[in-house]
Structure formats: structure tokens, C-alpha cells
């Protein structure tokens, strides 16, 4: 599954040098220890921090040919477990013409790597990787031109391969080290520098193993949580008893019997600092503090209605298409309306957030698992009152984060505390803090109205979505520590691009998508994997099935008849083949049985111009209990050029399983004061026994641009499942999560619609 027989095996050579993670590659035993070469390269890279070129328009920002002929690649995007640590070197090595074993890779350090934007939105390869491919192509062109000059051979008769430029016809050449070793390119990224013919790639397209996997399986990888700094203290932050509460008083004597504990209070920011972690934990539990009443939360059951009635909402027409057909709909046309709701959800990272900061008047160094080291530089500089160039953020692996969890909050906690106590401080959040206070995937309320005729033509369609707005120009999501401590930061909301894919990807007549932008959100929102798209695709692709059922049409054939995009058709046809799809309308023939079995599918053209994904599901639904058993999930996935097939497959597997968990189980619960889903009982995740079989078909298009694979497969999961449940039972689920209670209510004839 993972490695093709001819793929070179890579050993891991990861190490921390000056805090920054370096990865080296070596041919041979996959379990070989850290090599001396990488250590040397790491030392030289760390020493080079002062002279690094960081301008993302410069080739030197991304790569260097070292004096010994090795290549260092610097990447501003970080590896969250999605495999950029091998995929980006695959891209760079292939485009440059050098073996992967000669590459040292440095990531996510504001002092060493260029700002390539947050590692988010499935853009790691599609944008970050393509910048590095263009840098490598520019560098290769320069190396070939230098060789042409020195060899007296026309450039078009030369080829760069295996770390040297040689005549195509053979004969003596010059190594990269001889051509430029140790010196800068001093070149801007040339968008016209020709890229290699994809057919000539020897690394791109291969399922090479990820270099950090052996360390993760043997406990030798230094995670953020494992990192230490000399003189480091341990802290716990005490969050308010209620959302929006102010700190009235603190009884420091309540922790007086714990050795060396220091209480830090800055306005509403409250923390305990100790020499060791267990003492800090005990102090956080023992500290007595009085909080004012909170600012109040809405009644959870009323949330959908409150979204719809939210004051000050602004409307924006996102998409509109008029119809040339002025004729009234035919007699046989059917018009439907439906409302769908997606609740607030947590990132639910397995490890609560952790960070270390070392702040002084001279500057700050912050170790963080943030997906946006560079983007946070200005934010942290502002609230710390330091110049931006004196704030260094260094990425270290954290527990999985899928957008923006509390990594940045923990880092801000540590920074505020380090400045207060004058020593490096490590902050570790608790489980209750993580589920209670991480920024949440926002709630989404979606209405759809549409008309279909007997032939399956969608004559008109309108989507209305009520969603928190994204504050224009917001540098980063407001963080808890500066907020509580009264330090400067820009207020606002950011949930990611949550309004995309509200339109059907099929031929329609009149069509309109309207966003009703909410000015507030009940809890602090943040992008959560595939922001907004799981909900929008849930609504759009469920409604398409509702139209299909109304017109008594096969839902897969209805999609194929409305699809004009050939790559979209290809993934839907692939699902039909994988599932041996039987043409018939839903619900299916056994939908009145005690255990109904059914199938369903959904499709998305992700963000309208990225991956094409179709997902099919086979489910069993027990009418008496309302329990859904997802038995099998099929996925046909076209993300353009595949750089690392095993990496893409792992991302698709993760997207499907994680989203199934969100759809079947997850909802942030709250009372009028605080979040109440703060542990794994009240916020539960899919378990091993509940994970279905997965059957994934990757469609590789080597000559097309890579489109990103980190999240597109999340989007169709909910609709495919809802459609399969409808096929199995005749009951339509329109509110996530699909709990047994909701299934039973839908089976009992109550529409699974939120109260509005």
C-alpha cells in the first residue's frame, strides 16, 4: 500500500537545532539514526538565520545549493501530519534535478523560512509547493545558463540531473556545487522559468514514506509538548467561570502551601506558574478566585432561530443566474423548500494545546504548533509591544489541528506570562480548557428552495445561508490572553471561506445564492477543516436528492445528467462503478424493514475550481434504536497532479473518518453561561469499532496542476450519509449530528429541521 517496490526508502533524520525542525533524507534503511550530514546542515542553517533571505519573491528564500553540493529547502508551510515534509522535497528535488537524499528541509520558522501564508485551505502543495517548484525551476534555469557559459555549450543542449549539469549527449559536466555552491542566486522567482515535463518526474507521483513516521512510532519525535528550554517554568491559565466574566478577586493564600507557586494576575488574565508541571496543575486546581457573572450565551435549542433573526445582518448575493425561460413551470414540476443546520464543533485535538515563550525587552522567541507562524508575528509583536522583527515564532509538531485550534492561544498565554515573570514559560492547556475555549467551527443555517421538472431539469434554485461574517483585514483571530489582559489586538471574526459551494454544481435555470452575514457569533469562531463546505455541501447535495425523490429519479443519474464538467462526471461515474450502483429512485425497496439498508452519494467541485470528489456510502439503520451503522464508504477523488499518492490517500482517509465523526456525533453544547461539552463523554468522537471500511479511488492527472487534498473529501460526507439514510428508511435528516434521537424523530415523521 505505502511504498512501491522501486521507491527509495528514506530514513528519518529529523532534529531540532536552535529550536527549528530540520529533516534530512538518506537512502537505505528506513530506520537509520540521525545522520551527521543533516546535523551539519542544521547547524549551518541555524547560524545562517541572521543572513537569511526571507522575501518570498526571491529564489534564495526557498533554496540554497550548499558548498558540498547538498541542497537546503526552506518552506514557510508546516507539516501537521499531512506529509509536506516529504511531498515538498519531492517537488523541489525533481524540479531542480537532484536526489532526495541530498535535500535538507527546514520549515515554519519566521527567522529562517519565507512567509508562504498559513498552512490552511489545502494550499500546502497547491500554493506553497508550487512556489517552491517555481523557485527550483528558476534555479535550474540559472544553473544551466551558468554551465552553458562555462562549458561553451548551448543551454538547450544541457540537462540538469543528479546534482549536475551535463550535455544531453553525455560527456563532462559541472556539479551544482561547482556552479554556485555556497553562493546566492540573487534571482527573483521567474514565473516563466520552464517547468519540467511531468513525464520526466522520477519522485513526484511516488508514494514515498513520510520522514517523521519512524520517530512518531518510536517516541523519538520532539513535539511541542515535549520541547524544553533551559530555565523554563510551567504554567496553567485559569479561565473565567463563565464566558465574558471578569475577575473580581483572587485568594493567593489558597496556594500558599504549594512550593514556589507564583500567581500572575493581569486584569482578567489569571495564571499560576511553578517550577514543575504537576505543581502548576495542583495550584490551578487549588487557587480560589471570584468571577463576575458572564456576558451570557443564547439558549442552545433556540440557536437556529436566533441566527435567522440576528440583528444587523447584511445580505450579499454570492452567485446569481437569471433564466431565459420565461414560461411558467410545467404541470409536472415539483417545488420544495428545506432548512439544514450545522452546529458548532470543536477541533477536538487529542492533545490540549501547549506552547513555550521566552520574552524579554529585547525580543521574543515562541515555540508553537500554530499553522500560521508567520501570520502571527505581527499579532504577537503588537500585544507584546515589540518590533515585528524581534518576534520569532518557531513551529514544532503538535496534536493534530485542522484550521485553528488553541495553539495560538497557548502561545499568547506563554508570551504574556514569560514577560510577566521574566523567564521562559511553558503553558499546557487542560482537556476542559481545550474543548471549552478553543475557537469553534461556527454554526450554519441554510435554506434551499428549488423546482425540478419530470425530466430532471432544475428550473430554479435559491440558497440562503446565515453565517458569521469574516471581518475584512483581520490580521488574526482575537486571542484569549491579550483580550483578558487588556493588551492591544484587532477585534473581529474569522471562520474561513465558509460561504463557498452553496450553489449546485449542475445545470440549472434561475439560480441564486445569498449570504446573510451575521455580525456576531455565539462563541469565538475559527476555520475548522474545510470551513463551511461540509455544511454547504450537506445542504446542496441533500436537497438535490430531495428533488430527485420528488421527481422519482435515480439520484446518481440526475447528477450525471446535470454535470457539464468532465472531471466531475468522471468521479461520479467512478462511484457508480465502485458501488455497482443500481439505477432506481430513493427510498430503496427495504426501507420499511426493522433494519433498513441503503446507499447514497454526494459530489463537490471543491471551492468551485479545486478538487472533484464524489463520496458514496452504504448504511444500515435500525429503526427501533435510531442507530446508524455506516458500513462502507467509497470515494473517487481527483485533485489533479498527485505528488505523493500515499500522502493523498492518508488525507482522504482522515477527511472521511473525521467528518463522519463530526456528522454522527459532534456538537458543542452550552448552557447560558459556558460550554458544557468539555470532556470526551460530553464531546465524543468516532471510535475504532464505529469506523467503516473505506474504498478510495485516486484519479491522478499528472499534467494538471495539483489542487490540494487536505480537506475536499470532508465536504460530501454528510450529504452522502443523509442520502443513504433516506434511501434506507425514507427519513430525511437535515440537522447535524445524526444522533439516534434525531433519526428516531425523523422516522416518526417529524421533519429533522431546526426550530426556526
Amino acid at each position: 500500500m505505502t511504498t512501491s517496490p522501486d521507491a527509495p526508502r528514506l530514513s528519518r533524520r529529523t532534529l531540532l537545532e536552535g529550536g527549528a525542525l530540520m529533516v534530512g533524507f538518506a537512502l537505505g534503511d528506513a530506520l537509520a539514526p540521525v545522520g551527521a550530514l543533516a546535523q551539519g546542515a542544521a547547524r549551518s542553517a541555524a547560524a545562517a538565520a541572521a543572513t537569511r533571505i526571507l522575501d518570498p519573491k526571491e529564489v534564495d528564500a526557498y533554496l540554497a545549493i550548499n558548498g558540498d553540493g547538498t541542497v537546503t529547502v526552506w518552506c514557510g508551510k508546516v507539516d501537521l501530519g499531512q506529509g509536506l515534509r516529504v511531498a515538498i522535497p519531492q517537488i523541489a528535488a525533481d524540479e531542480l534535478g537532484i536526489g532526495l537524499d541530498r535535500i535538507t528541509y527546514v520549515e515554519g520558522d519566521t527567522a529562517l523560512t519565507p512567509d508562504q501564508g498559513r498552512t490552511a485551505g489545502s494550499y500546502g502543495i497547491a500554493r506553497g509547493g508550487m512556489q517552491i517548484r517555481q523557485a527550483a525551476a528558476t534555479a535550474r534555469k540559472a544553473l544551466v545558463e551558468r554551465a552553458a557559459h562555462r562549458l561553451g555549450v548551448p543551454a538547450d543542449e544541457l540537462v540538469a540531473a543528479d546534482g549536475a549539469v551535463r550535455p544531453r549527449t553525455g560527456g563532462a559536466g559541472l556539479t551544482f556545487a561547482e556552479l554556485i555552491g555556497g553562493a546566492r542566486f540573487d534571482l527573483k522567482l521567474d514565473p516563466k522559468a520552464p517547468l519540467k515535463d511531468p513525464e520526466s518526474y522520477t519522485l513526484v507521483g511516488k508514494p514515498l514514506p513520510r520522514p517523521d513516521v519512524p520517530a512518531k512510532c518510536t517516541g523519538t519525535l520532539t513535539y511541542m509538548h515535549d520541547h524544553t528550554v533551559p530555565g523554563m517554568l510551567h504554567a496553567r491559565v485559569i479561565r473565567p467561570a463563565s464566558v465574558g466574566a471578569h475577575l473580581v478577586s483572587v485568594d493567593e493564600s489558597s496556594v500558599a502551601d504549594l512550593p514556589g507557586v507564583r500567581v500572575v494576575r493581569i486584569q482578567d488574565f489569571l495564571a499560576v506558574v511553578a517550577a514543575d508541571e504537576w505543581t502548576a496543575i495542583k495550584a490551578a486546581g487549588a487557587l480560589k478566585a471570584q468571577w463576575s457573572a458572564g456576558s451570557g450565551l443564547p439558549a442552545q435549542a433556540e440557536l437556529p432561530a436566533l441566527l435567522r433573526a440576528s440583528p444587523g445582518t447584511t445580505e450579499q448575493v454570492l452567485t446569481t443566474k437569471s433564466s431565459t425561460d420565461a414560461a411558467p413551470p410545467p404541470e409536472d414540476a415539483r417545488s420544495l423548500t428545506a432548512t439544514y443546520f450545522w452546529p458548532m464543533q470543536s477541533h477536538a485535538s487529542i492533545g490540549p494545546s501547549c506552547a513555550i515563550a521566552d520574552v524579554s525587552a529585547a525580543g521574543a522567541t515562541i515555540w508553537t504548533a500554530s499553522q500560521g507562524t508567520h501570520g502571527n508575528q505581527a499579532t504577537f509583536a503588537r500585544f507584546l509591544g515589540l518590533p515585528k522583527d524581534k518576534v520569532r515564532l518557531i513551529y514544532l509538531d503538535g496534536a493534530g489541528c485542522y484550521g485553528m485550534n488553541s495553539h495560538e492561544d497557548a502561545a499568547a498565554d506563554a508570551a504574556v506570562l514569560s514577560r510577566a515573570v521574566g523567564a521562559p514559560v511553558r503553558v499546557q492547556w487542560s482537556r476542559q480548557d481545550e474543548l471549552g475555549w478553543d475557537p469553534k467551527g461556527p454554526p450554519q443555517l441554510i435554506d434551499i428552495a428549488g423546482t425540478i421538472d419530470a425530466a430532471g431539469y432544475i428550473r430554479d434554485w435559491r440558497t440562503d445561508m446565515w453565517i458569521p461574517e469574516n471581518t475584512r483585514g483581520l490580521p488574526s483571530i482575537p486571542l484569549l490572553a491579550p483580550e483578558a489582559a487588556g493588551l492591544p489586538q484587532t477585534p473581529g471574526l474569522n471562520s474561513g471561506m465558509i460561504s463557498q459551494n452553496g450553489d449546485p454544481p449542475y445545470r440549472t435555470g434561475r439560480m441564486q445564492v445569498v449570504a446573510h452575514w451575521l455580525k456576531t457569533a455565539p462563541l469565538r469562531p475559527a476555520p475548522l477543516r474545510s470551513p463551511g463546505k461540509p455544511a454547504n455541501c450537506f445542504a446542496v447535495e441533500s436537497f438535490l436528492d430531495e428533488l430527485a425523490a420528488a421527481a422519482v429519479l435515480d439520484p446518481l443519474q440526475l447528477r450525471l445528467s446535470g454535470l457539464t464538467d468532465q472531471r466531475g462526471k468522471a468521479v461520479v461515474e467512478k462511484i457508480a462503478e465502485m458501488m455497482s450502483w443500481e439505477q432506481r429512485p430513493s427510498p430503496g425497496p427495504n426501507s420499511d424493514q426493522p433494519v433498513g439498508r441503503g446507499r447514497g452519494l454526494a459530489y463537490i467541485h471543491y471551492k468551485h475550481d479545486e478538487a472533484h470528489v464524489a463520496i458514496g456510502m452504504e448504511v444500515a439503520v435500525e429503526r427501533a434504536s435510531g442507530a446508524i451503522r455506516v458500513e462502507r464508504v467509497f470515494c473517487a477523488h481527483d485533485c489533479g497532479q498527485i505528488v505523493n499518492p500515499d500522502g493523498v490517500r492518508a488525507q482522504v482517509e482522515g477527511s472521511i473518518i473525521q467528518t463522519l465523526s463530526r456528522v454522527l456525533k459532534e456538537e458543542v453544547t452550552f448552557d447560558r453561561e459556558r460550554v458544557t461539552s468539555v470532556d470526551w463523554s460530553s464531546y465524543s468522537l468516532l471510535t475504532f469499532s464505529e469506523v467503516p471500511k473505506l474504498d478510495i479511488a485516486l484519479i491522478d492527472r499528472p499534467t494538471e496542476p495539483p489542487l490540494g487534498a487536505g480537506e475536499a473529501a470532508c465536504a460530501p460526507v454528510a450529504a452522502a450519509l443523509a442520502n443513504a439514510v433516506f434511501d434506507a428508511t425514507g427519513a430525511r435528516l437535515r440537522t447535524v449530528p445524526f444522533t439516534p434521537e434525531r433519526v428516531k424523530a425523523a422516522l416518526g415523521g417529524q421533519a429533522s429541521m431546526p426550530r426556526t
Binding site: 519512524p214 517516541g219 513535539y223 509538548h225 515535549d226 473518518i657 473525521q658 470526551w680
Partner: protein
Amino acid sequence: MPRYDIRINGAARTIETSDPDQPLLYALRGLGLTATKFGCGLGRCGACNVLVDGQAVQSCMAPVASLEGKSVTTLEGLGTPANPHPLQAAFIAAQVPQCGYCTSGVIISAAALLGEKPKPSEAEIRTALDGNLCRCGTHVRVVRAVLAASGQEG
């Protein structure tokens, strides 16, 4: 200060702590054995699992004092990059971890299972791992790797 003699990864160790209620998790991490991860502190996620006399135990819930005279094995004690345990080798071959934060606890739970039942069925593997949470969605690969480590086709 109270001292507790515990065998850790085959070596006799003495843990000194003023607090006998201190969970084993923090003692281990204090010794530099950081493979064992803090996940919830509530015994509900499995990230901190270690083997105690061959049984999977949540180290966040096990007071140091309760380990006196017992034998603790962490992920580091199962194998090393140069000499991995069959489960570690299978997890590497299957490229199981994504973020990898849950991996230590998952491998420990699987080791406990294989200690009791060398050739478990797929259903038995899943049941044995139901106390281990994974957020990245690596479950299918985990099951395949455990089957492979037990000499069964995944």
C-alpha cells in the same frame, strides 16, 4: 521525600516525589520519557497508555505510589528506531500516524492485546482500541498494521 522503586523499560528506577498522588504520566515525562502523551487527564482518550506488567494502563490516572514494585513499559521501551518492536515496524510500514499524538497510546494498547491474544480478529482489535481516540482518522491503517504485526493479512 517518599521514594518509589519502579521498573521502567527494563531498568530499576527510583521516583522521588513529595506527592504520592502524582500521576505516573508526569513522573515518566520528568524522566525524559516523552513518548507517553497527556491527552485528557481523565482516563478517556488513551494517549497516555503504558504497559504495567503487560496490561494497558492510563498513566494519567495511575498515582506513582500505586506502581511500587511494578514493571512499566513505555513506547520507548518497546523498541527503538534501529530496533523496532514488530508493532512499531508495522505502523511504520503502513505509514499509520498523521499528527502521531495518539500513536504511542495506540501501539501500547495493541501490544497489550497481542500479549493476551497473539492473533486477534479485526473486531477484537477494534474493540481493544475503542479506548484510544484518534482525531486525524488513521483508524483503518491502525487496524491493518495490528493485523500485519500479528502475522495476519491486513
